[in-house]
Point group: C2
Chain length 202, copies 2
């Protein structure tokens, strides 16, 4: 991998991840979103190539077969396939961009096997609050919400595999935390860079 | 050590450390400054018990002899003794405060031997800029400035022992970086806490 930092952000559906990510990325230059591929149908307001690359199961299988250049990670969630193209991510990191992957727990654990991402988990403050947020969103049926809650419980078991935990209680605080993590990781990365100008100059 | 996080901040004299620390600590609740002991004379504006505990060499030697409860670290810098009282730091951490130690490179390496501090180095953007800042401060003679520059060069050799590097080019950026490191480390610490409410609740 190149010069940028790879951030992996996971959160149960309804955890507020998308809103937090958009706010932080609007504030911080040099941070880019890697757009994932998915076989699920677009939700209202989602745009192909911006929110996801919406592709068929056949196209997904074709990319998966291009090992090892295919997917950096892929997973089946709620019956749909999601994947992150490795070449796209490596090109961005190589250009010195810090890349954000918005992927689930299974995907995060896969990415960790082949690279050294910074792992960030965004958790809702409580199960009741998560359920309330999912109902408020109003895009899912009752049984779909039940499935998401069940998946949330399973995903929370992986929280301690992550480097950072953000509790999304108040949105502004959660945005501040994610922004801080990115800024701090840049300071962490900076000291480990060899050939640092300030070192050779002194 | 107790529930708080121990931050160690080092910087060559004139690196802007004191200004940055004061601004960050005014912004962030729960972050406290551990006041060091020193045998050097107070500078204009410095107050005993706030900036340092100004003590005699005899009193310093007496505390040093109280092993292991005496100093968490101590060092001789520019011919003066500096030390951090262990009991004070442990009491603050035990009360859940995040503690900041403003100490030099020798001290930082000592603290690392007995605890697990977060190490932060604040560097000036260049030697020329450091010299200009020291001259502008106007509290030192030319030979004293020469000694500080020489010490700065030696301290910069330890930069890669630190977890984070902040380049103090623009003050507001440096303040933002230090603040971000504290906020991020709190998110890092949070995920490693056992008995986290959100985990047991799900």
């Amino acid at each position: 991998m190149g010069g940028g930092i790879l951030f992996v952000v996971s959160a149960p559906s309804g955890g507020g991840k998308t809103t937090i990510l958009k706010k932080v990325m609007a504030e911080l230059p040099g941070l880019v979103f890697s757009v994932s591929c998915t076989t699920r149908a677009p939700r209202p307001g989602e745009r192909d190539g911006r929110d996801y690359h919406f592709i068929s199961r056949e196209a997904f299988a074709e990319i998966r077969s291009r090992h090892p250049s295919g997917f950096l990670e892929w997973a089946e969630v709620h019956g749909n396939l999601y994947g992150t193209g490795r070449e796209q991510v490596e090109r961005l990191l190589g250009a010195g961009k810090d890349v954000v992957l918005d992927i689930d727990v299974q995907g995060a654990m896969q990415v960790r096997k082949t690279s050294a991402p910074v792992l960030i988990f965004i958790a809702p403050p409580s199960p009741a609050e998560l359920e309330a947020r999912l109902r408020k969103r109003g895009t899912e049926s009752g049984s779909a919400i039940g499935l998401r809650l069940e998946n949330a419980r399973r995903e929370m078991q992986f929280m301690d595999q992550y480097d950072y935990l953000i509790i999304n209680d108040r949105l502004t605080d959660a945005v501040d935390c994610l922004r801080a993590i990115v800024v701090a990781e840049r300071c962490r990365r900076r000291r480990s860079l060899s050939g640092l100008p300030v070192r050779t100059e002194f």
